[in-house]
Amino acid sequence: MVSAVLPKLKEPSVIPGFGTTLGFTLFYLSAIVLIPLGALVLRAAGLGLSEFLTLAGDPRTLAALKLSFLASLAAASINAVFGLLVAWVLVRYDFFGRRLIDAIIDLPFALPTAVAGIALTSLYAPNGWIGGVLEPLGLKVAYTPIGVVVALTFVGLPFVVRTVEPVLRDLDREVEEASATLGAGRLATVTRVVLPALLPALLTGYALALARAIGEYGSVIFIAGNIPYVSEIAPLLIVIRLEEYNYAAATAVAAEMLAIAFLMLLAINLIQAYSRRRFGHAA
């Protein structure tokens, strides 16, 4: 039916159900995602520019956003390095327990963030298993910004591993053989032949981990200590403003975070488009 009305927008097909399924998809998408997000944008727009700027430029808000962003950058960087290492080890080497390790990589996706939060806090608290060892060395992790980075590292860990792994597995070994025949040492082959081919996947994983970390709430609030201006993340500030019934301030922070999320999404899509052009596959 829809195809009769819109002949140019859809190619004809003998399969039925286009109107029903697409209609339901659009309705459900609008009801659950688009209209609610639209309400947020409308609310933020309704604040007016000057009030929005006042709320968005509030020092406590800026401090929270800065911490969220910097801690996420740090965590994503740690994950880029170790995620690449883990992917490399899982793809290239065979060792006892490899399958088990491969399965447990996805733990941060499966473990509820609140559980991860209290576990990491107990672990890195001054009387915890690891915190107790670090405390005499003068290194405090829990209830400091370092704790935030630890929690965000946990949350973002699977992203880099899971984006790099398939690309590394499909990588043509002949290129490495060619590099070796031409006299390159192993280190030169890895850094100048293998890594450039992995770069788009690595960047995508980095951006995904970063995007996830910026919005993360559950695993962070336990370990952060939540001291305003020091270890208070932006999502927590939204919750605090809501509990004060200060909807305007909550909306302003949320709108800023949403803008950051859209920029991240754009970056990811640009990397993938570049990768498809340059390497013939999406990272």
Partner: protein, 313 residues
């Protein structure tokens, strides 16, 4: 080579050269035992890299997981059972199961409909639609809760109207369900869409042209083709639905025994310094995560081929 040389009627090669050749050959034979392909690392480097990777995973993943169970059982099995048998804990477990029973089927139906429309037909704006479906993954869970407060809360767009009708959404089960559906929105769809796109529509076209109805084609042709991917998506969707914290925390109002899900109950107990009880409830959720990971790995191992369609995160 030696035979070739000797077979030719040429002047005999001086002896010293032969000796040198022989020495070089034996050296080659010795190094052959230690020879390794130039496309792999030395054993020492290999073991160092493995140790470093495992060490990192140990500190970040394994030790926290072990700690949950150790802390839960530290005060004895009696405390553990009592914590789980507590009426508030039982209410939280019931609510978590209820929310998952609402959110997972809703997103399952949506995932099937979206995948059918996107994979079986060619239309304008398809890739934009796929991007929109993935949108909830880029949005902070806290914002997912906030948007429904802004819509349905007492200061929200529909708030006054709803309170006139006596319908409660915020600080009640419907709000928790909505926020959970939002954060688990893409899980089933994103497993099905790439797979069904790769499978194409040939099978369905054949079934239809042989006289099968649309429903019959769906049940007998499409569904069997995607059943493992569907299960995979449902599994991940369920894990997230049961474990969601941020979105639910914003909208639930934390009413003990009424709007407390399991993750929220963990938070309440933890903040009350009831650590053994908090970790007891947390251990149930950790167990759920382990079961999810096991089934997921099993599906990947046993049905990897029928799940595979360039999976990315």
């Amino acid at each position: 080579m030696l035979r070739e040389v000797s077979a030719r009627p040429v002047a005999p090669v001086p002896r010293p050269r032969f000796a040198r050749l022989a020495r070089r050959r034996s050296a080659d034979a010795a190094s052959a035992r230690r020879w390794q392909p130039p496309t792999t690392e030395r054993p020492l480097a290999r073991w160092l890299l493995i140790a470093l990777a495992l060490g990192f995973l140990g500190f970040v993943l394994v030790i926290p997981l072990v700690l949950v169970f150790v802390e839960a059982l530290k005060s004895g099995i009696g405390v553990y059972v009592a914590a789980l048998a507590d009426p508030d804990a039982l209410a939280a477990i019931r609510l978590t199961l209820l929310i998952s029973a609402i959110a997972v089927p809703a997103n399952l139906v949506f995932g099937l409909a979206a995948a059918w429309a996107i994979a079986k037909f060619q239309f304008v704006g398809k890739s934009f639609l796929i991007t929109l479906i993935d949108l909830p993954f880029s949005v902070s869970p806290v914002i997912a809760g906030l948007v429904f407060v802004l819509l349905f809360g007492s200061q929200g767009y529909f708030g006054p109207w709803l309170s006139d009708l006596g319908i409660e959404i915020v600080f009640a089960v419907p709000g928790i369900a909505l926020a959970t559906i939002f954060v688990t929105f893409p899980f089933v769809a994103r497993e099905l869409i790439p797979l069904m796109q790769e499978q194409g529509s040939g099978d369905e076209e054949a079934a239809i042209s042989l006289g099968a109805s649309g429903w019959k084609t769906f049940w007998l042709v499409t569904l069997p083709n995607v059943r493992w991917a569907l299960l995979y998506g449902v599994l991940l969707c369920n894990a997230r639905a049961m474990g969601e914290f941020g979105a639910v925390s914003v909208i639930s109002g934390h009413i003990r025994g009424v709007t407390d899900t399991m993750p929220l109950h963990v938070e309440i107990l933890y903040n009350e310094y009831a650590f053994p009880a908090a970790f007891a409830v947390a251990s149930l959720l950790a167990l759920l995560a382990l079961v999810t990971l096991s089934i997921k790995s099993f599906l990947e191992w046993r049905h990897g081929a029928s799940l595979k369609a360039q999976r990315s995160l």
